[in-house]
């Protein structure tokens, strides 16, 4: 099996991971960065095919590369033998990654909530549709409704408009008053205020609804029309696509596999980004949703600590704390309303991998009970989609993972298993 050893192993090449990698490399550490996407940048800095890498990705990656960091893209971590030995798989098979310290910068995924018709092709996530469009999905002249919750709705609606799509409306579940209050608080964050003003300018012709959410999507084989609840009355739109997501949820899978404490949906960290496992740090959205500036600030702190410079890390904490404060007001403004728990009908599929309907899941006591009864969460996505939904619908914690974290071939499974046994023999 291929092996790669380093001082600091960073999992995730989004803003937090790139900031941690550049900082740790400049602090004198040998750094390896692993990301499962074909290119670095993560989600928010995902490059559009025609434009090349995002400038902020290039700048941070260049700083890390200048100090000898190595990037392993297209590689997914599938298992671990403790915090110092991880196994990843890329197109060429398994790789053993040995590291003194680990920085988890796993990012976040969109939270999808089930409603009748949400499984129809053409119903995407919000960031999901943008990611596909950046990779070349044709959206020109398509009619698109954007729904769910959070500032991402406006950002993506504006991006879609600017790239030739026709956005029929933005449907935000939060009440107008709380969104307006959040907007008024932006004066403390000039960069974010400027971004918000620019978005609203692009969207001045696009209807923006509050207290609004999708009730059902319908169509023959793919989505054709969507009915929304808008301030208590129903409204139906003919659409080509629906982009719908209810905010973001921290990605915690690898942290859970390593045994890191998880609370409030995110990986628990202390003031210096240490998790509950020695040698394992965590930065960015996987500690709790905070946005790109917060992720960058946390990545810098984690990078300093990982390279043994706690003094520099402490100096970087102030910026991080300011950004964390913003994250809390964001979470309050876009809190998901109780009515959304009533969206699925008894027949609505909750677990898309195993086609388990709400009527069956609703009667289960907890995640384990649901899995035993129905195989919910046992398919290839391992509950990444239904886990986020059930965290809200049933208030079930979303931390159950099992290796391998993604499906791998039997040959790879055998190779990783044999290496795991050898590692355990050595440490016994």
């Amino acid at each position: 099996m291929r092996e790669l050893a380093c001082d600091v192993l960073v999992i995730g090449a989004g803003p937090a991971g790139l900031a941690a990698a550049a900082t740790a490399a400049e602090g004198g550490s040998r750094v390896v960065v692993v990301d499962e996407n074909p290119e670095a940048g993560g989600q928010i800095w995902r490059s559009a095919m025609v434009h090349g890498p995002h400038p902020e990705t290039s700048a941070l990656a260049a700083r890390a590369l200048a100090r000898g960091a190595r990037f392993l893209t297209g590689a997914t971590v599938v298992d671990a033998a403790g915090a110092n030995t991880l196994f990843a798989v890329d197109g060429a098979g398994p790789i053993m990654l040995r590291a003194g310290r680990l920085v988890l910068a796993l990012g976040a995924t969109e939270r999808f909530l089930p409603f009748p018709g949400w499984t129809l092709p053409g119903v995407f996530g919000v960031g999901g549709l943008q990611a596909l469009a950046k990779n070349g999905l044709e959206i020109g002249n398509r009619t698109i409704a954007v729904a769910g919750s959070g500032p991402l709705l406006l950002a993506v609606a504006a991006w879609l408009e600017q790239h030739g799509a026709h956005v029929l409306g933005v449907f935000e579940q939060a009440p107008k008053a709380s969104v307006v209050r959040f907007g008024l608080g932006l004066w403390r964050h000039p960069r974010k205020l400027a971004q918000a003003v620019a978005l609203l300018r692009v969207l001045r012709q696009v209807p923006r609804h509050h207290d609004a959410w999708p009730l059902r999507a319908e169509g023959d084989g793919y989505v054709e029309r969507v009915t929304f609840s808008v301030s208590g009355s129903e409204r139906t739109l003919q659409v080509d696509y629906l982009a719908c997501a209810f905010g973001l949820a921290p990605t915690t899978g690898l942290g859970a596999l390593l045994g890191c404490d998880i609370a409030g949906g995110g990986i628990v960290v202390d003031a210096l980004q240490h998790t509950s496992i020695p040698e394992v740090l965590c930065a960015g959205e996987s500690t709790g949703i905070g946005g790109v500036d917060c992720a960058l600030a946390e990545g810098v702190v984690a990078g300093h600590v990982a390279s043994g410079h706690d003094d520099r890390a402490r100096a970087a904490c102030r910026r991080r704390d300011r950004e964390r404060g913003f994250a809390e007001t964001l979470g309050q403004a876009y809190a998901l309303r109780h009515e959304l728990r009533g969206l699925p009908s008894p027949e609505t599929i909750i677990c898309r991998c195993e086609d388990v309907p709400w009527s069956v899941v609703a009667e289960s006591d907890d995640v384990r009970d649901a899995k035993l009864k129905t195989r919910a969460g046992m398919g290839p996505c391992q509950g990444r989609v239904c886990g986020g939904a059930l965290e809200f619908l049933k208030r079930w914690p979303r931390d159950s993972v099992r290796p391998p974290l993604i499906p791998i071939t039997l040959g790879e499974l055998a190779e990783v298993g044999a290496a795991l046994n050898r590692t355990e023999d050595q440490t016994r």
Partner: protein, 83 residues
């Protein structure tokens, strides 16, 4: 933009711009439904970032591969369960 590459989808040749992911190549060719669920419903990509597995296909013999995470290369063979 990079030169076009040719891939084989369920035995049919498809020419796409270089750099396109397999999921996007399928969707732009009118195949937004990329697999059938265990109960036979058509399903297509949702998250675009490797989380939902709804764009899964067999790619060069690897089953259950997330087609949104794989860039098309010349001669790549894709088999969907939706054919």
């Amino acid at each position: 933009m990079a030169d076009a590459v040719r891939i084989l989808v369920d035995g049919v040749e498809l020419s796409v711009p270089g750099g396109t992911t397999v999921a996007v190549a399928l969707a732009n060719a009118g195949r937004l439904a990329m697999h059938r669920s265990v109960d036979g419903e058509p399903r297509g990509p949702v998250c675009g970032m490797g989380m939902c597995f709804e764009c899964r296909a067999s790619i060069d013999g690897r089953r259950d591969t997330r087609s949104c995470m794989v860039t098309c290369v010349d001669g790549m063979e894709v088999i969907t369960s939706h054919a």
